[in-house]
């Protein structure tokens, strides 16, 4: 197994600032906007973005929810293991809101497809956008593209993109791992 660094802590920080600035450009004071972190891995990115908006750009109280898409996945009974769910935490309705889905890696697009169905359980959003830190180009199974992307990579299927967060894994970094 070999791995190479795609983004180190400094580069990741710069990328995050750019993504946050792009969000502000489109959503101004976030009054009509809700951020939805996709479980399990989008949670850390979503929380980081909310924190940066509040601390670095003086936009506090941005609404953040966490959405788990396990029960909406299209591979139920098609995998060896039972699909285990994570916590969904959305204590607001998204009716007429501008929703931004946040996930760390965009790969086949199937999770996003499931999330688009799942979010409808909480109302009819005015629009839905997608922010992802890493966009694995050429590996999409569905016509889904991000509105905000941190970095685009051409990783092949055998490779794995691993995003680490200081608060969870002890360091901020993005690796491409080859098995």
């Amino acid at each position: 197994m070999s791995q190479k660094v795609l983004l180190d802590a400094t580069q990741l920080q710069i990328t995050l600032h750019r993504l946050v600035c792009q969000l502000i450009e489109n959503h101004k004071n976030f009054e009509e906007t809700v951020l939805i972190g996709l479980q399990p891995r989008g949670k850390f990115l979503a929380q980081r973005i909310k924190q940066m908006l509040s601390e670095d750009y003086d936009i506090p109280n941005v609404t953040l929810g966490l959405l788990d898409i396990t029960f909406y996945r299209d591979d139920f009974r098609r995998t060896e293991k039972t699909l285990e769910a994570n916590k969904t935490q959305i204590d607001f309705v998204v009716e007429d809101k501008r929703v931004v889905f946040i996930d760390d890696v965009l790969y086949t697009g199937r999770s996003i497809n499931a999330a688009l169905t799942a979010i409808q359980s909480f109302g009819r959003p005015k629009e839905v956008e997608l922010l992802c830190l890493i966009d694995r180009r050429f590996s999409r199974h569905l016509p889904i593209q991000p509105d905000y992307r941190g970095r685009q990579v051409d990783a092949i299927n055998e490779e794995k993109v691993k995003v680490s967060w200081l608060e969870n894994e002890g360091e901020d970094s993005v690796y491409v791992i080859q098995n």
């Binding site: 029960f71 039972t82 409808q120 359980s121 109302g123």
Partner: protein, 310 residues
């Protein structure tokens, strides 16, 4: 563990502590789902479930049907009263006929103990026991423990007394298995005639005095006297039963401890509990009903995920 150790839920006796933990963890998520503005998920869109009720039921049948529909399964219902069972068809024949219509899972209530176990040896579909005679009612025991866990944080170490007609109760037996498996202390309380002989062999204590039992416990699970299963007289009169084994507000108020009151329903108000107890803040009876849907969704979801026929 992310998978159940069994392919059927025939009774608590056949599952492990880890299975219960997994069911509860999954039920937590489904409880959140059923409190959303839109309470439905598409997981089981390609699964068909047959609800076979060879015995009357309101709550359990509705709860199962709702759980199945919330998971987007296709549901067919069958009740023995209006079926060919009356014409002499055997259980295996009835079920096999239904299964030829490509049914993936069977939820069955049957008056004969062991009907689910018998069926599991003859058919390929996944089976959920929704009550078999006086044997087991596993989903009821699971939702009872889930409700205790929700109210008191955990089941392990808690003192639970099951009061009433233990002899005819499948809820009692499944609850004893489930509670012991999770490390709770269990006592049973009721007239001696309604306590099975050798009940202590299941690791429970017998307490004939209701007041002493209530003073000891954290949770009292009140059972209904099952008159329909009684072919002889087990106690002199309903009035005398209510006086000896009925829980009243006065009795609860006279205790030093505040206990949680549970009841699997249907309640005979004024017999095993009075209305003011059933409707009090100490009662979690309606929470049990809500949790029943979440727990049954979890059981069906986890069993369905083991059906690999794609």
């Amino acid at each position: 563990m992310s998978e159940l150790s069994v392919n059927h839920l025939l009774g608590i006796k056949y599952i492990k502590k880890e299975d219960i933990d997994l069911i509860f963890k999954t039920a937590d998520h489904f409880k959140e789902v059923i409190n959303r503005p839109i309470k439905k998920v598409p997981s089981l869109r390609d699964i068909t479930i047959a609800n076979l009720f060879f015995e009357n039921s309101t709550r359990t049948r509705l709860s199962f049907e709702l759980a199945e529909k919330r998971l987007s399964a296709d549901v067919i219902n069958f009740s023995a009263a209006s079926s060919s069972v009356k014409k002499g068809e055997t259980l295996v024949d009835t079920v096999n006929n239904i299964l030829s219509m490509k049914v993936d899972m069977v939820v069955m209530r049957h008056p004969n103990p062991g009907a689910g176990v018998f069926l599991s040896k003859h058919i390929g579909a996944s089976i959920v026991n929704a009550g078999d005679g006086a044997h087991e009612h596993p989903t009821q025991a699971l939702l009872d423990s889930f409700s205790i866990r929700e109210k008191l944080g955990e089941v392990a170490g808690k003192n639970v007394v099951i009061v009433g007609d233990i002899l005819h109760s499948r809820v009692a037996l499944s609850n004893i298995y489930a509670l012991k498996l999770q490390g709770a202390n269990v006592k049973v309380c009721g007239p001696k005639t309604l306590l099975p002989k050798y009940i202590e062999s299941l690791g429970v204590e017998v307490e004939l005095d209701l007041r002493k039992a209530l003073a000891w416990c954290d949770v009292a699970n009140m059972l209904r006297v099952q008159n329909e299963r009684m072919d002889i007289c087990y106690f002199p009169s309903t009035r005398e039963y209510a006086q000896q084994y009925g829980v009243t507000k006065e009795l609860l108020n006279s205790l030093d401890n505040e206990i949680v009151i549970m009841h699997p329903g249907p309640i005979n108000r004024g017999v095993e509990i009075t209305s003011d107890v059933a409707d009090s803040d100490q009662s979690v009876i309606l929470n049990q009903v809500e949790n029943g849907v979440a727990v049954r969704m979890a059981v069906i979801y986890l069993l369905a995920s083991k059906i690999k026929n794609i």
